[in-house]
């Protein structure tokens, strides 16, 4: 099959791919995508960092170390530290049940998992106020037992859990479904207990999908605004997460301080992206292999 055996053919003047698109079309499509990304993603992100440093390094440090800001940062981290692991456990359980078993109500469960995506975050927060607020369904009972959910930490956590729940499950379900149950059956016939099968076979097979799901879940948990805003009551120093604190700063015309705190969240987004890219680069082969059957 040497090229020397082929008859000589003049190279076509314009190279077109087997799919038939001309070079011009391809350039145009790429240009449009790049323009969109630059205008709506890169530029705003860059603006955050530029504005954050507008008043100089001292002002930046002051904005970030100010007590209310520190409380907001701590609260954001705490809410994420509780909401994300919870969603990992429940998301894993839901994905496992859906992917490996057949049962009545499975389709309903799948729809329910997608529910937080289709509901406006403000409504998500409002739901909790309606349920647990002073005038809510459980309001009197909660007041009688001196339990505060709305306008307190539990409310923030609940709202965040609701809004970020689908990420882990949605990442896992298609992957687990494509893998099927053969590996698990093999492990069971080899004498492994069901827990061993889960931790040694099922989980390792989906570790990369799980990791991506966790990254997305965490990013959203830290950045959630709408649902948390409704539930938190915005009590400074107590129930303000970082996004809420940023809004307050901005509304009080402290733009540079607002951007300074915002740059922390933007930094988180960049770190998440960098981590994902690095892992794909480093473990690309393993990831591709784990998706094969």
């Amino acid at each position: 099959m040497s090229d020397a055996a082929q008859p000589f053919v003049a190279a076509p003047a314009r190279r077109s791919s087997a799919r038939g698109e001309s070079l011009g079309v391809r350039i145009a499509l790429i240009a449009v995508s790049l323009a969109f990304l630059l205008l709506f993603l890169a530029l705003p992100l860059a603006a955050v960092f530029v504005e954050a440093g507008a008043k100089g390094w001292q002002a930046y440090r002051a904005a970030v170390t100010e007590p209310d800001a520190q409380a907001a940062i701590r609260l954001t981290l705490l809410v994420a530290a509780i909401a994300v692991p919870f969603n990992i456990v429940v998301g894993l359980a839901a994905a496992w049940a859906i992917a490996k078993f057949e049962f009545r109500g499975k389709n309903l469960l799948i729809s329910l998992i997608d529910l937080p995506f289709s509901v406006s975050p403000v409504i998500s927060g409002l739901v909790f106020v309606l349920l647990f607020g002073a005038q809510g369904y459980f309001g009197p009972w909660l007041q009688a037992h001196d339990i505060k959910i709305v306008f307190a930490l539990p409310g923030l956590i609940l709202a965040t859990i609701f809004v970020t729940f689908p990420f882990v499950a949605r990442e896992l379900i298609p992957h687990m479904e494509s893998l099927g149950t053969a590996d698990e059956e093999a492990a069971l016939t080899l004498g492994a207990s069901p827990w061993r099968v889960f931790f040694r076979v099922t989980l390792p097979n989906v570790k990369w999908s799980l990791f991506y799901g966790v990254l997305l879940c965490n990013a959203r948990a830290m950045g959630e605004f709408g649902a948390v805003a409704v539930v938190s009551g915005k009590i400074r120093g107590l129930t303000n997460t970082m996004p809420l604190h940023i809004e307050i700063l901005y509304n009080e015309y402290m733009g540079a301080a607002a951007f300074a705190v915002a740059s922390l969240l933007a930094g988180l987004a960049l770190v998440t992206l960098a981590l994902k890219t690095f892992l794909e680069w480093r473990f690309g082969d393993e990831i591709a292999a784990s998706r094969q059957h």
Partner: protein
């Protein structure tokens, strides 16, 4: 250590589909049995029932004297080899094979060094020494299947079950592994049941073949038994090739139309019947009383033999006739065919 497997009138339905309708089979210790049949015949369901991966609606499976209904998957001690290997992708070859032994409860577990020794022995047995650290994605199909086999053997199973073990491999590798499996079985002597839709494989490998169709066992016997003495029309048509002639039996002769084509019939049949004749049992002759006249319409190659397709008056389909090397009819030539052996079944 190998055990007899007794299957007693197993019935299994999937929703409305009856996969198995009262199947019984006795497998001797150390025997290599093939479950052969077309897709949907229930052979994989039967295998999975023996394994314990499915539960029967009725009937039972016994290992020796024990009803497997009372046994957990681990207690059954079966080795299962899947069609697509089901190797654990995140573990290397050695860890895959060691998985079974390492899954035993602490008290029963062998020491790490013993387990590693066993892994080495098994790798030698399947001729994959030196590949301990490789991952499944770095192995060829044939190698993966051998690792899957080693993994199943690691738990010292009482019964070895293989689900179309060579189905996902190409023809050359399949043939090689077939012979290799036969040799392995000779050496290790496990009671083995394997599922296949490839008749050549079943007839070559198995001590006995069980032919399944539509959830029932049509016949069980050695390769010679089922091939030369098929018990039902299905078996006759499924194994090898067979020409079908509608005949009428009068006395000791079978008549096609008003021509006697086969004599010496002993069974007390009489009446309408189907006569199945394999291509190799039709011979072109010059003139004999029991001959069928026909016209050669097509000549082709069928592997090592040449084959003639002969049209016979009154038959819709042409007869396939294997030709001996010296015989070379021309297309359009009128020939006479003699049946040297046939299988007769009363018309349904």
């Amino acid at each position: 250590m190998s055990v007899a497997v007794t299957i007693e009138t197993i019935e299994k339905r999937f929703e409305n589909f009856p996969a198995l309708r009262g199947v019984s089979l006795d497998i001797q210790p150390g025997e290599l049995v093939a479950l052969l049949g077309p897709s949907g015949s229930g052979k994989t369901t039967l295998l999975r029932l023996i394994a314990g991966l499915e539960q029967a609606d009725r009937g039972r499976v016994l290992f020796g004297d024990t009803d497997t209904h009372d046994l957990s998957l681990r207690e059954r001690r079966i080795g299962f080899v899947f069609q697509h290997y089901a190797l654990f992708k995140t573990m290397n070859v050695a860890d895959n094979i060691a998985f079974g032994p390492r899954s035993r409860p602490h008290r029963e577990r062998a020491s790490e060094s013993e387990i590693r020794k066993r892994v080495s022995e098994l790798l030698e047995l399947v001729q994959l020494q030196g590949l301990e650290k490789r991952y499944p994605s770095q192995l060829s199909g044939g190698q993966r299947q051998r690792v899957a086999l080693a993994r199943a053997l690691a738990i010292e199973p009482r019964v070895l079950l293989l689900d179309e073990p060579f189905g996902a491999l190409d023809a050359r590798v399949r043939k090689d592994l077939r012979g290799w499996l036969r040799e392995l079985h000779g050496r290790t002597g496990h009671t083995t049941v394997f599922v296949t839709h490839d008749q050549e494989e079943a007839l070559e490998l198995a001590d006995r073949v069980a032919i399944l169709n539509d959830g029932r066992i049509e016949q069980v016997g050695s390769a010679d038994d089922v091939y030369d003495h098929p018990a039902t029309p299905f078996v006759c048509e499924f194994l090898g090739e067979a020409n079908k002639l509608p005949v009428k039996v009068v006395g000791s002769q079978a008549f096609f139309g008003d021509r006697p084509v086969l004599g010496g019939i002993q069974q007390n049949q009489g009446g309408a019947a189907s006569l199945y004749v394999r291509p190799q049992h039709l011979r072109i002759v010059d003139e004999t009383p029991l001959a069928l006249p026909g016209t050669v319409e097509h000549l082709r190659r069928n592997g090592p033999l040449r084959r003639a397709e002969v049209a016979v008056e009154g038959l819709k389909k042409r007869l396939d006739v294997d030709l001996a090397s010296q015989v070379a009819p021309a297309i359009g030539e009128r020939v006479r065919l003699r049946i040297t052996h046939g299988n007769l079944f009363a018309a349904a």
